[in-house]
């Protein structure tokens, strides 16, 4: 293993470049996943609130049907 040889240096340089590229890609993927997690978290929070609101709305609507007295409606 001749570390001074130009062949060695060339191989080292190419590997260094490849390593940098690979690490940069991984870093970017990580940042994108983090961003996605944040976005999904806010979406889910919003959707939960909507589900809560719709459930209350439905309960109220069903309450109307419970109010039907005997013989009420079409006669």
């Amino acid at each position: 293993m001749d570390k001074s040889s130009p062949e060695y240096r060339l191989r080292r340089e190419r590997n260094n470049v490849a390593v940098r590229k690979s690490r940069d890609k991984a870093k970017i993927r990580n940042i994108e996943t983090q961003s996605r997690v944040m976005e999904l978290s806010t979406d889910n929070e919003r959707l939960r609130r909507r589900v809560e609101h719709l459930s209350r709305e439905l309960d109220t609507l069903r309450g109307v049907f419970r109010q039907i007295p005997e013989g009420g409606g079409r006669q």
């Binding site: 570390k3 080292r12 260094n16 889910n44």
Partner: protein, 125 residues
């Protein structure tokens, strides 16, 4: 600068502490190297674990998100259905009490307030 670095070359380098490297120095060096190797291994494992967890979290949130959207759709449809049932009941309803004359309660558009036996909430979307 990484351009000319041997930073990714992990072969063992010969000691150069002084003119007379003792064997105890060599032992210390080997021990330090080994400690560092283990620490680096741990660090890489933690990094991988962190990335895997983040990916899992993303997948789980995606699934939750899909389920919540489905629920919203179902609840919305049910609310629309019940509302429409009530709307179609309105013109046919006789109620309990005798009919109040229409001219005393001119029905505003879409109002159900002249129902005397049913209080209808009105949802407009």
């Amino acid at each position: 600068m990484a351009q000319d670095s041997d930073s990714n070359d992990t072969s063992y380098k010969s000691p150069s502490p002084g003119s007379r490297p003792s064997s105890s120095d060599d032992v210390k060096k080997v021990m330090r190297r080994e400690k560092n190797r283990i620490a680096a291994q741990k660090s890489r494992m933690r990094q991988t674990q962190k990335a895997d967890n983040l990916h899992l979290e993303s997948e789980n949130l995606q699934k939750e998100n899909a389920a919540l959207k489905k629920e919203v759709k179902q609840l919305t449809e049910e609310a629309k259905y019940l509302s429409s049932v009530l709307s179609s009941h309105e013109p046919l309803c006789t109620g309990l009490a005798p009919q109040t004359p229409e001219h005393l309660y001119p029905p505003p558009h879409h109002s159900s307030y002249h129902h005397q036996h049913i209080t209808v909430p009105h949802y407009q979307h």
